[in-house]
């Protein structure tokens, strides 16, 4: 079973986590076009490589970002979104 490092709780088995999909930057809903908004809601980039993904550590209720290489299934790093936003 894979291990994943929760930024709060450390290395835990993957069965404790819920995958939350690719992380995407939301366009400004007030200024973006309908096409841009639809692309944000429905389109995902399937190209292999390092992806930013949402993961949720279920027992502790922690959402965080994992940067994962979808070719090798290696998790490059994990961090709280707020840590990233706050610098």
């Amino acid at each position: 079973m894979k291990l994943l490092t929760c930024p709060i709780n450390g290395s835990r088995p993957i069965s404790e986590f819920v995958f939350g999909g690719e992380y995407r930057e939301m366009p400004n809903p007030d200024t973006c076009s309908d096409q841009e908004w639809s692309a944000y809601v429905f389109n995902r980039n399937g190209a292999p490589g390092v992806k930013k993904e949402w993961w949720f550590h279920s027992p502790s209720g922690t959402w965080f970002i994992a940067e994962r290489n979808t070719v090798t299934d290696e998790v490059v790093r994990t961090y709280l979104l707020s840590a990233e936003v706050g610098g």
Partner: protein
């Protein structure tokens, strides 16, 4: 035990303990430590099984857990591998896949007609007529096969345990033990696993007649015992490699799931046979099997054996045979110019060595159950052609074969190792290993004893550095000249029966046939010929198959490649994999009361809830109807503790809810509740509930039972992005809730509060915090199932106090508890749609007719931007309430029945039920927008394809105190 040798140094048997058992109805004896095969071979039995396809007699092949022709049944257990299974007293063994016993197998005629049964025969012969295929299939399946499945097999729960270690070393041969010792010395935790009954690998049997050969192993074993940080497990195999160093170890009785930080794979190599006619006769065996028989079990493999080899291993075995007192009829070496120093030793002992010769065929004994001799002849290595014209016979009663090895690299492959073919040693070896995975010994291409030990040390040092422990960098010197594996040990024969895969009876010519028919890719060839698809999964067959295919296709072996080695490494009984059937569910604080009251429980989401309360003498239908009518005419009480309950605290709590839900909450007054609808970013309805404002900065909200976890999770995710000044608390389990519904409910509640004005003043949609029978309660007036109803939320621990008090206080008013069945009808009568029941994963609020809940002028809410786009488009369906025009419909429509307009699908029914209150069948359905006007008639097609007429009506279906539509 006529073939038992005098005591051998290091033998695995305990001669003090005699074991009695039967095989095919006859009594035998063996010693403790014997396997089934070794005990039988010691007793002179050579025919231990029948082959899978042609029912040819088979004896010992590998003694390494791939003698899959020797599978036996003992009581309820079948497909027991006799070569490695320890003998137990009282075993009553019979051979699988025979009819009439292993010697008199009635299906042996299959061998006689094998010439007309080439690979792919079944596909081609029985392909037409199609109708007859089941007939042929039945016959084929009975003829070919293994043990019979016992459908009365008792349920066995095998233990599962978890273990952690720094380094797992797989394989306890010289390389593995050396590596484990180096690691243990450095102070790390080491677990060493080996599938054999004793540690040591080939140190147990590959002696080449050296007198002190076993001393080295004994010294290593003594040293192993010195390290408390080193533990070992025998008779257990690592079944596969899973991500992040997680490996299941299958022991005799259960499974250990081990999590390591690094893994050293020292799994060794499988010997594979040279391919010549009748290389499967009982008495023809791999050289390592002969060594194992002699040194582990002190059993003579033959009395007068011939050695057929293509490497130095054959010479080592010949020396071992002579030392054990077995005559060596001759040594036949496929190579024209062998460079083997051991040859002189053998010659000095008078053994005749034929170099550049092959065994052209093994001659069966008169009964066909053994070997009477070997026909040998000169061999042209370059063209792989025997010169049959110069053949002659050498008498012998057995043949030890040694042509080469293939690495036991399954775990390495599974751990993502890139392998390369090393032409020098004629073996696939690791080229690039994944992080934290190390290979040592034969699997890494090192065969000489000194090199294997060195390679173990090297691998250990690399593992230590990987674990950030400082150690000097070591390297293993290159393999000395001379390859342990022959590049093409095949001897063609016009009459065939030169087997490559013993599991599936695949012969040399089968490969040529398959290639000729176009199956000339390794994966295609595997599936067409079925090589490597038997129970041993190609352990002795794959390498030869690859060599044959490479030659047929005239491609280098590196290009042909290898098939994929998936878990499990050996067939693993399902009992090891089966779970405990653990299905947890949650119960509410009133669960015991429900059970006592005769509730029929149903699992809803993660909860166990009363569906209805059984009553003596009446049916379920009648009981549910009674519960519905109690609410309508008097009062009812339902446990709604399963609702999701979340508290939002903080200065920006209202702002958070504004963004998360579609409605407005900033303007919400303290002491009121509001309907809350949550969408996803595409504008699809996710969940709904009510939000109660308890204070300026405190909101208490509910979600539907099944979405509780999801809603809380999504709230947490948005909060990560929004970073508002709030705190979210999931109090789903902390609070119990009950819904007191019906016209009499106000009176009942008033009896339980100090000041009845508190209740009287409560308007529909209000919330207050109040003591009800001394329990702190959050009281919400909410009309979900009834015009007049109260949802009372209390700390779960005090819930029973209130529940009992309500039941008691309700008695004069005919208060009745009701379950989810009645609740569904009641909410339908009220015209409420359920998200996830009346909506699906694509439904937007316009279609579900809940646009009233949208505050589109807000600056933002999740899904708002998508709704703006959706709103521009015309909806193609809309949810309406309907009643059937006639109650005497031929068939009552069901949920999911289609709405039909002019033979076209126009929509579907999402909810439908008989309303005991209205005495009508009512429901909700999606219809085309042009059918949605009040009073419109539309047709529903029932399961019987009858069209039933329905009419769009207003909601709620029931009007306050009137009950009329």
């Amino acid at each position: 035990m006529l073939k038992r040798l005098s005591p051998q140094k290091g033998e695995w048997i305990n001669r003090e303990k005699l074991i009695e058992f039967t095989f095919e109805g006859q009594a035998y004896q063996g010693y403790e430590g014997d396997t089934i095969t070794s005990a039988l071979w010691a007793s002179g039995e050579q025919v231990l099984g029948r082959s899978f396809k042609y029912h040819r007699p088979r004896g010992v092949l590998s003694f390494a857990n791939h003698d899959v022709n020797i599978m036996v049944t003992d009581g309820i257990d079948t497909n027991i591998r006799a070569d490695v299974t320890q003998l137990k007293a009282g075993m009553q063994l019979s051979v699988v896949n025979t009819s009439g016993g292993v010697k008199q197998d009635k299906k042996r005629w299959l061998d006689k007609i094998s010439a007309i049964l080439p690979v792919g025969f079944y596909y081609k012969a029985f392909y037409k007529p199609k109708a007859l295929f089941p007939f042929w299939e039945n016959i084929i399946r009975k003829a070919a096969g293994l043990g019979v499945v016992n459908f009365n097999y008792p349920r066995q729960t095998k233990y599962k345990s978890n273990q952690f270690t720094d380094v797992l070393v797989v394989g306890a041969g010289l390389a593995g033990i050396t590596a484990a010792l180096c690691l243990a010395k450095a102070g790390v935790q080491v677990v060493l696993v080996d599938e054999n009954a004793q540690l040591g690998g080939s140190l147990n049997e590959d002696f080449a007649a050296k007198a002190d050969a076993n001393d080295k192993l004994q010294a290593l074993l003594t040293e192993l015992a010195n390290y408390p940080n080193l533990s070992y497990i025998t008779q257990a195999y690592v079944a596969g490699y899973y991500a992040d160093y997680y490996l299941p170890i299958i022991t005799q009785t259960g499974m250990i799931r081990i999590r390591a930080k690094a893994v050293i794979v020292a799994t060794g190599a499988f010997e594979h046979p040279p391919v010549f006619r009748n290389n499967d006769l009982p008495g023809v065996m791999l050289s390592t099997a002969a060594q194992r028989l002699m040194h582990r079990y002190a059993v003579k493999p033959f009395d007068n054996g011939l050695v057929f080899t293509a490497n130095t291993q054959g010479y080592r075995v010949a020396l071992d045979m002579l030392k054990a007192g077995v005559k060596v009829a001759a040594l036949v070496d496929l190579r024209a110019l062998p460079n083997t120093p051991l040859a002189d030793q053998l010659k000095a002992m008078g053994i005749k060595i034929y170099t550049g010769y092959c065994v052209y065929e093994a001659k069966p004994s008169a009964d066909g159950f053994g070997v009477s001799g070997a026909i040998i002849c000169p061999y042209d290595e370059t063209n792989a052609m025997p010169d049959n014209t110069q053949s002659f016979k050498i008498d012998c009663d057995g043949i030890a074969m040694s042509a080469g090895w293939s690495p036991a690299a399954a775990l390495l492959y599974q751990a993502g190792t890139k392998m390369r073919f090393d032409a020098q040693i004629q073996q696939f070896v690791p080229q690039q290993l994944a992080k934290g995975i190390f290979a040592a010994g034969k699997v890494n291409g090192f065969y000489a004893e000194a090199l294997r030990a060195q390679d173990g040390e090297r691998a250990a040092s690399e593992a230590l550095r990987y674990l950030n422990i400082d150690t000097p960098v070591l390297s293993t010197p290159l393999q000395a000249s001379g390859t342990p594996s022959h590049p093409y040990p095949m001897v063609p024969h016009p009459e065939g029966k030169n087997f490559i895969d013993f599991d599936e009876d695949i012969q040399l010519k089968d490969f040529a046939n398959a290639a000729q028919e176009g199956f000339n890719n390794i994966e295609l060839m595997k599936r067409y010929t079925t090589f490597g698809m038997g129970p041993s999964q190609g352990k002795h067959a794959n390498m030869n198959a690859i060599r044959v295919l490479a030659r047929i296709c005239q491609q280098p072996i590196a290009k042909v490649g290898s098939t994929t080695a998936r878990p499990f490494y050996h067939p693993t009984p399902l009992g090891h994999l089966a779970g405990y059937g653990f299905q947890p569910y949650r119960t509410t604080a009133m669960h015991a009361w429900h059970q006592q009251a005769g509730a029929e429980l149903a699992q809803i989401g993660v909860w166990m809830r009363p569906a209805y309360y059984k009553q003596a003498g009446i049916s379920k239908q009648e009981a549910v109807t009674q519960e519905v009518l109690a609410v309508r005419n008097a009062a009812g009480l339902i446990d709604v503790s399963t609702l999701g309950k979340i508290e939002v605290h903080g200065a920006q709590a209202a702002e958070f809810l504004e963004r998360f839900y579609t409605g407005g909450f900033v303007s919400q007054q303290v002491g009121t509740t509001r309907y809350a609808l949550a969408l996803d970013e595409a504008g699809v309805m996710m969940d709904d509930g009510i939000v109660a404002r308890l204070a300026e900065d405190v909101f208490y909200l509910t979600t539907s039972t099944t979405n509780a976890a999801m809603v809380y999770r999504e709230m947490q995710r948005w909060q990560q992005m929004w970073q508002l000044d709030i705190t979210l608390t999931n109090v789903t389990g902390a609070y119990a809730a009950m819904n007191l519904a019906g016209l009499a409910s106000t009176k009942i509640l008033e009896k339980l509060v100090k000041n009845t004005d508190d209740i009287k003043q409560l308007k529909s949609g209000d919330v207050c915090e109040i003591k009800v029978v001394d329990v702190d309660a959050r009281l919400i007036s909410v009309g979900f199932v009834s015009e007049v109803a109260y949802e009372i939320h209390v700390p779960a621990k005090q819930a029973m106090i209130l529940w009992s008090a309500l039941i008691e206080a309700g008695k004069p008013y005919q208060l009745q508890p009701f379950g989810t069945e009645a609740q569904r009808i009641l909410r339908l009568e009220m015209g409420h749609a359920l998200i996830g029941h009346d909506t699906d994963g694509l439904t937007n609020p316009f279609e579900a007719n809940v646009a009233f809940a949208l505050k589109m002028q807000k600056s933002f809410f999740v899904g708002q931007r998508s709704l703006k786009i959706i709103k521009k488009k015309t909806a193609n369906k809309i949810l309406v309430a309907f009643a059937l025009v006639s109650n005497q419909a031929k068939q009552t429509p069901q949920e999911c029945n289609l709405v039909i307009e002019q033979d076209e699908i126009a929509g579907r029914v999402t909810s439908i039920a008989w309303s005991p209150t209205l005495q009508k069948i009512i429901g909700l359905a999606y219809v085309k927008p042009n059918q949605a006007d009040m009073g419109t008639y539309f047709d529903i097609r029932t399961d019987n394809c009858d069209l039933v007429q329905a009419q769009v009506v207003q909601t709620p279906f029931i009007q306050h105190s009137s009950g009329a539509v």
